[in-house]
């Protein structure tokens, strides 16, 4: 009898786990991936959609085309997991029993948690990115404020990258001299990582992007057009772009598998649930205090898949565990970018911004579909 491996979520992490477990176990496991929409979305592209550098359609592919033929795809919402019964309940009432379960449901954005955030824009969802681009196309002059309304959020460099891409966009339209860009940071520097902040802060200054530190967005007054911080400061805006608060998905919360924000507690090396030995979580879904990003989901997925395959085959647990590896690109505008690499034991390093990192990111964005979901990159 083959083992039942069920994966919730068809993003980067879930798709890689599904393909790798199927590949590594062959007919000894039956792999099922459950996804609410059946559409795989390349989320790093939202940033580019928001400034008109990418077409929305280019970021979507049917999940069925990214999965191996021997992975069963169920396009339906998972409502609840019963860890005692080892069962997932789907919206239709259908049940899936599992021997191994992977939670790869990711995060959801909650702009509604920010009081007054009614006329606020964001680039954290496809609809948000499209709406923001439309607003930018009609923008002629005034102050654009970019802030963070909750931590953790996906892709920590994104607000800084967006500020640079926005600067490029406004310059290309010839209206940069009648606009101001203000970047609000939760800390007293541009970015959590000190080394990267030192690299990007002079470039922000050079481009005339004003950085305000220790401004954790608490509320918005859409009538007065002001945004107020936890620290008690208030700032005016003509167009406000916020990173929305994030939390885990409803299925995690309704199954009580996560913490108070719906993040699943796992061992930071094995990615196994701290309470249930047959449940793993990867990517944004976990409570590990590390970047919520595609690269983390990718690296974690390869580890979780190898552990599950070993258990299915009755082999000892693989020696390779997740070491906290993170790799991010950071666009610095004007056709240049840098990278940020670190893990649990090695502090972050970033090379000087160069054209080759921008092209590497652009190339990755294009080749993603053919390499990442299949687990072809290490």
């Amino acid at each position: 009898m083959s083992a039942e491996v069920v994966i919730l979520g068809g993003g980067v992490g879930g798709t890689i786990v599904a393909n790798l477990v199927a590949k590594q176990t062959q007919d000894r496991a039956h792999v099922t991936l459950v996804d609410a929409t059946g559409i795989h979305v390349y989320q790093p592209g939202f940033l580019y959609v928001a400034v008109g550098l990418e077409q929305p359609a280019a970021l979507n592919r049917p999940e069925s085309r990214l999965l191996r033929d021997d992975v069963s795809l169920v396009i339906e919402r998972a409502m609840r997991v019963d860890p005692a019964e080892h069962t997932v309940y789907l919206e239709s009432g259908r049940r899936l029993r599992y021997d191994h379960l992977v939670l790869a449901t990711g995060s959801r954005t909650m702009m509604g948690e920010v009081p007054g955030a009614l006329d606020v824009y964001d680039f954290y969802t496809m609809s948000g990115a499209k709406r923001l681009f439309k607003a930018l196309e009609g923008f002629q002059q005034g102050t654009i404020v970019i802030g963070v309304a909750g931590i953790p959020y996906k892709c920590p460099p994104a607000p800084v990258e967006f500020a640079f891409l926005l600067d490029d966009y406004l310059r290309a339209r010839g209206i940069r001299n009648q606009t101001e860009i203000k970047l609000l940071s939760p800390l007293n520097r541009a970015f959590t990582i000190e080394a990267t902040s030192k690299l990007v802060q002079p470039i922000l200054a050079e481009r005339g992007i004003e950085l305000t530190g220790f401004f954790n967005v608490e509320s918005v007054d859409p009538v007065a057009k002001t945004v107020t911080s936890l620290e008690g400061e208030t700032m005016g805006y003509d167009l406000l772009i916020l990173v929305p608060p994030h939390r885990g998905q409803e299925v995690i919360e309704s199954s009580r598998l996560g913490d108070e924000r719906g993040w699943v507690p796992v061992d930071k090396n094995t990615l196994k649930h701290t309470e249930f030995a047959d449940i793993w979580a990867v990517g944004d879904t976990t409570n590990i205090p590390i970047s919520k990003s595609g690269s983390v989901a990718h690296y974690e997925a390869t580890v979780a898949a190898a552990e599950i395959a070993a258990e299915v085959k009755g082999e000892p647990a693989p020696a390779h565990v997740y070491d906290g590896k993170v790799m991010c690109f950071l666009e610095t505008g004007q056709g240049k970018a840098t990278t940020i690499r670190f893990d649990y034991d090695h502090p972050p390093v970033s090379p000087a911004p160069a054209r080759r990192w921008h092209w590497a990111k652009a190339l990755f964005n294009k080749t993603y579909w053919h390499t990442v979901p299949q687990g072809r990159l290490p």
């Binding site: 931590i151 800390l187 007293n188 220790f214 954790n216 936890l230 620290e231």
Partner: protein
């Protein structure tokens, strides 16, 4: 005179920038002059607490370390 702590935060195991953000949130609930103490394990929290105190005007009245745990006491500024 004994020191009364109004709020104690356990921020151990959290990494940058969570300790400072949880602290900023908790400080909002304090009345002027009240004290908040926080325990953290992220070494980056030491410069972050110093900088946050300086920027926001809420004095950092204590910053000590004992066995890998950092202890901070912040005082809510007078209005």
């Amino acid at each position: 005179m004994s020191i009364t702590i109004a709020v104690t935060l356990d921020l151990k195991g959290l990494s940058c920038p969570m300790p400072i953000i949880k602290t900023a949130k908790a400080m909002k609930t304090l009345a002027p002059g009240e004290l908040l103490e926080a325990y953290a394990t992220d070494p980056g929290s030491v410069p972050d607490f110093q900088a946050w105190a300086k920027t926001t005007g809420n004095p950092l009245v204590e910053s000590t370390q004992l066995g890998g745990v950092f202890h901070f006491i912040l005082k809510k500024k007078e209005m």
